[in-house]
């Protein structure tokens, strides 16, 4: 949806965000309308606030889109001097987070091993240095962190974390 350029200054990214926001607002407002028509709308009733909030969303998103259209019209030929965000690393990081959550919840790997693996992966995605240079450092810090958290939470605080395959 968004252009893989530099959203900080790119009018196109702002324009795209405005379109998405207006569309999302309309969809939510329509849903609130349907529910409202279904259950009836009264000032003190439960269907009133959703209508107000989603209605406000549509109006504000519309205003935002308006400002972005103006910015788009006034844009100057692209000057490529600012920092460009890269989308690969954050998307991979997001995927890694989701995997981590599922492994924690639905597998027998356990907190310490899952966290260690996640930590090494996340640190690598957040790093600009090659894997073999930092793997030892990341693994040691990750192991210390996951063990400390696990022991502190289960033994000291009594909050249960999945033990998994390790005999802890």
């Amino acid at each position: 949806m968004t252009e893989p350029g530099r959203p900080e200054a790119s009018p196109l990214a702002g324009l795209a965000a405005g379109v998405v926001l207006v569309a999302a607002g309309l969809a939510l407002f329509a849903r609130a309308l349907v529910v409202g028509a279904d259950r009836g709308v009264t000032l003190g009733g439960p269907t009133f606030a959703p209508l107000v909030v989603t209605g406000l969303w549509v109006v504000v998103a519309g205003l935002y889109l308006g400002t972005q259209v103006v910015a788009w019209r006034r844009r100057t030929p692209a000057t490529d001097d600012g920092p460009r965000p890269a989308w690969r690393a954050p998307l991979l990081l997001l995927a890694l987070l989701v995997t981590y959550a599922f492994v924690l919840k639905y597998t027998a790997v356990g907190y310490v091993l899952a966290t260690l693996a996640f930590y090494i992966g996340a640190a690598q995605l957040l790093s600009t240095r090659p894997f073999r240079e930092v793997i030892a450092r990341d693994a040691i810090v990750g192991l210390a962190l996951s063990l400390t958290v696990y022991l502190a939470f289960t033994k000291l605080l009594g909050i249960v974390l999945p033990a998994g395959v390790l005999p802890l």
Partner: protein, 510 residues
């Protein structure tokens, strides 16, 4: 004076080894997280909530949270001065002169005037807080539902108008928060709203989930999207050698700005507009205008550090006034503290002073104690704090993600909440890229449901007659103020323009 006796009792509660330990942990942890860009006191308090619940000690927890807040403010100013990367908008004013002082080898003096100024401001305003809260709470008893509705609306509108790059972006962020607040089962009628058939959404979206998403996950993803532009390790300036913190001349130039900053910060914090952004910039502008040596501003004038830092700290005591007496949070951190209160089944407001007066006075006493501890810890340990700034970024943010996941998982044990936090984190990353402010979203989440409840209660009391909102003078006055506040952005445009310039300089330099 009655308040004085209560305060002495409060000190009695705080000065136990256990509560002192809580205060010490609070200021230390707060300083640490305050130094990390994008990771502020709101996130720290949210992440510590599950731990705090387990300890089941409301007094100790709130003492620790107050310590975290003060510590985070001090940590934020340290980063601003040594790295020129203000972690939150309230530190921007400090970084202008602070970093210039550090570049000219006067980092120690800048850090010292920030620390001592913060201390002075905090002590003065806590004294004010002591004597303001109880009369204020007595006044608040007469507040009706319609007044609360109008007050919450005023708080929301003013904060949105003041924070961020543009009013439309602030309002959009606020609306996003309001929407998240609507999700879940309606408390009065049991009707499900925007749950999309997901059972665990019926309870609504937990404030911890939203804050972890907006701050921790959002910041980590944002960092990941800009890796090539950032060095692997930040390189702070070394706080120069020698023992002298502040010279006699520095003291002479600092004490008036401290007092003036305090005088600006407390009332601005106590107003529903809340927050520290406006008073810190007002203080900076004022010091610059009345300085005898104007040309020194921009090249490291100590007044430009002393004033805004005092204003920053003073505004926190101010923010506590509406939070404790009315239950109205006016900053993101206050919103999380309100959530913490509700976890312990405490509801801030006029009744709190009657039902939980020992807790309130212990909290106020802990502000004094926390500040003494902070000063004692920070000045001698500054070299250690600088080491913290040198932790490689990948290790730091990978760790923050581990704690973020743990915080959500421990509070709910529910994978939907964890995934929701990640999703909100993705939105927050885009918000950062597109320059949407984060704080209004949190205020919308907290204040929206409060407003709805009070709106419906007011209607119920008035038999569905909407005119209750215009016939009661206090309600009408507050509503008119809210309308006026929407016009306010034209006033601080001056300061915002200045900040935008400054940020341009920051990115240009690095």
């Amino acid at each position: 004076m009655n308040a004085f006796a209560d305060l002495v009792d409060g000190f009695g509660t705080v000065l136990t080894p256990q509560n002192l330990l809580y205060a010490a942990i609070g200021v230390t942890v707060g300083t640490l997280v305050g130094m990390l860009p994008g990771i502020g006191p709101a996130l720290t308090i949210a992440l510590l909530l599950p731990v705090a619940l387990e300890l089941d000690d409301p007094t100790g927890t709130l003492i620790m949270f107050a310590g975290i807040y003060y510590g985070a403010m001090y940590g934020g100013s340290t980063t601003s001065i040594l790295l020129n990367t203000p972690g939150e908008s309230a530190s921007v004013a400090t970084s202008i002169e602070g970093y210039q002082m550090a570049r000219r080898g006067r980092a120690r003096a800048a850090l010292a005037t920030a620390a001592i100024g913060s201390f002075v401001a905090a002590i003065i305003t806590t004294v004010l807080l002591t004597f303001v809260t109880e009369p204020m709470a007595r006044l608040a008893v007469s507040f009706r539902a319609s007044d609360y509705f109008a007050l919450a609306l005023l708080a929301m509108v003013t904060v949105t108008a003041v924070v961020g790059a543009s009013l439309v972006r602030g309002l959009m962020s606020l609306t996003f928060g309001l929407f998240l607040g609507v999700v879940g089962i309606d408390a009065l009628t049991g009707q499900a709203r925007f749950t999309f058939g997901v059972a665990s959404m019926l309870d609504g979206i937990d404030v911890v989930v939203v804050i972890v998403g907006l701050f921790a996950v959002g910041e980590a993803l944002f960092i990941a999207s800009r890796l090539r532009d950032l060095p692997e390790k930040p390189v702070p300036l070394e706080p120069a050698t020698g023992f002298a913190w502040l010279s006699r001349a520095d003291w002479a130039r600092s004490w008036r700005p401290w007092l003036r900053g305090t005088a600006l910060g407390f009332p601005f914090g106590a107003l529903p507009s809340g927050g520290a952004e406006l008073p810190t910039f007002l203080s900076y502008m004022y010091e610059k205008r009345r300085a005898k040596n104007k040309d020194e501003f921009g090249r490291g004038a100590i007044e430009g550090v002393a004033g805004p830092e005092a204003a920053n700290n003073a505004s926190f005591s101010g923010v506590l006034v509406p939070l404790l007496t009315l239950g109205i949070p006016t900053s993101a951190t206050a919103a999380v503290m309100l959530a913490a209160f509700s976890y312990f089944n405490l509801s801030p407001g006029p009744q709190l002073f009657q039902t939980q007066s020992s807790l309130v006075w212990a909290l106020i006493a802990s502000l004094f104690v926390g500040n003494v501890l902070l000063l004692a810890l920070n000045l001698p340990l500054i070299r250690l704090w600088v080491k913290v700034l040198q932790v490689p970024r990948p290790l730091l943010y990978a760790g923050i993600l581990v704690f973020a996941t743990l915080g959500v998982y421990a509070v709910s044990g529910n994978i939907v909440d964890v995934l929701l936090a990640y999703g909100i984190g993705l939105v927050a990353m885009l918000m950062r890229h597109l320059d949407f402010p984060i704080a209004p979203a949190i205020l919308g989440l907290i204040l929206g449901p409060l407003m709805e409840t009070q709106f419906r209660r007011a209607l119920l009391l008035a038999d569905g007659d909407l005119s209750i909102f215009v016939t009661r003078p206090l309600t009408l006055a507050l509503l008119l103020l809210a309308v006026a506040a929407l016009a306010l952005p034209h006033l601080p445009k001056l300061f915002r323009g200045r900040r935008a310039d400054r940020l341009a300089v920051v990115t240009g330099e690095d």
